[in-house]
Symmetry: C2
Subunit: 204 residues, 2 copies
């Protein structure tokens, strides 16, 4: 998807690339996905349309990479690697820390509007929705799968639990409150989700 630039063009390209990401995210947050165009992104980023088409084939491609970049920055700001969850041996503490960082990200205005615009489009545009789930959301969910598998190895999670479903007990409630505004989100809230998910609602 991305052609490697010639060495002497790298610095300038990197700057353009970042300007294009920022333009794409701000534009989709302001006017929504259907009215975001490659021309509009180019104009806002101060580059030619051809610069965008040299690197990406469509606005969906630009946005996908812009979100991947944003998620990477958010993970680094939260002090953890973008491609794994912390494993201190204390599953509850690790999940709470990651979900608290997610709360921060969801409440970040740079993230809010573009993410809503994209999620809204993904609900009704099945192809776009599936592409973003496959390339952006599911890889993030798989980090929880790996952390829960490690917890199964140490006995902190039952062996008969399917990690891919289990993670939804704390990830999906936060996602729904944020997406549909069904309730406030806070550290207390996500901490509670982790406690309920690990220990269940029934008496022990």
């Amino acid at each position: 998807m991305v052609n490697k630039p010639a060495p002497d063009a790298t610095r300038r390209s990197e700057k353009s690339r970042r300007a294009i990401y920022e333009a794409a995210l701000s534009l989709v947050g302001e006017v929504g996905y259907p009215r975001t165009t490659v021309e509009g992104i180019a104009a806002r980023a101060g580059v030619g349309k051809q610069t965008i088409y040299r690197w990406w084939s469509s606005k969906a491609d630009v946005l996908l990479e812009a979100f991947l970049d944003l998620a990477e920055q958010a993970a680094q700001a939260a002090g953890h690697e973008p491609y794994s969850l912390p494993d201190t041996g204390d599953l509850a503490a690790d999940l709470k820390a990651v979900l608290r960082a997610t709360v921060d990200e969801l409440l970040d205005p740079r993230f809010e509007a573009p993410s809503r615009a994209l999620a809204a489009e993904g609900l009704v545009n099945e192809q776009l929705g599936r592409e973003f789930v496959t390339k952006l959301l599911e890889p993030q969910l798989q980090l929880y799968v790996h952390r829960l598998r490690a917890a199964q190895d140490t006995g902190a999670v039952r062996r008969d639990v399917d990690p891919r479903i289990a993670l939804e007990l704390f990830v999906s409630p936060l996602a729904q409150r944020w997406l549909q505004r069904t309730g406030p989100i806070s550290y207390d809230y996500t901490d509670t989700l982790v406690e309920y998910a690990l220990h269940g609602l029934a008496p022990r």
Copy 2:
């Protein structure tokens, strides 16, 4: 919001009302919320625009009532009252039954397209989103709150659990899979959610 019709107009009104609901739901599913108009709903329902404005003040109002009516029909089709959850004394069985009925509803084509269109709009149109949550979604979630409170009274759920958060452990995963297409939905899936939520992921 709805003026009571004169007695001799009741039968005709009821027929028009249902035609308007159906027109509103099918239209929003086909063209999305922004392009749905009161004029378009009237034309499809075969009534005058003034007939709609006599009963409702906006397209949002028409759609809200159309969805309330659809939810009522779905509850009756599933064999339970629309305004309460079953209470057989077996919490897991009751929750599984209600979630299985919800799976049926989510997979019903009459429900699918209009619900997606409305949810998508609610993500980016905060006023509409909040109105539909307050009037449509939250009352449904409160049915789970009441059922979980009854379970606290019989000792099936711990006293220190907040039922409004607890219900999200099984409701939100299903909502997210359906909304964002993050995974398949089935009776097995929702049964598993109930088991995990009640008994937790950690060894007992």
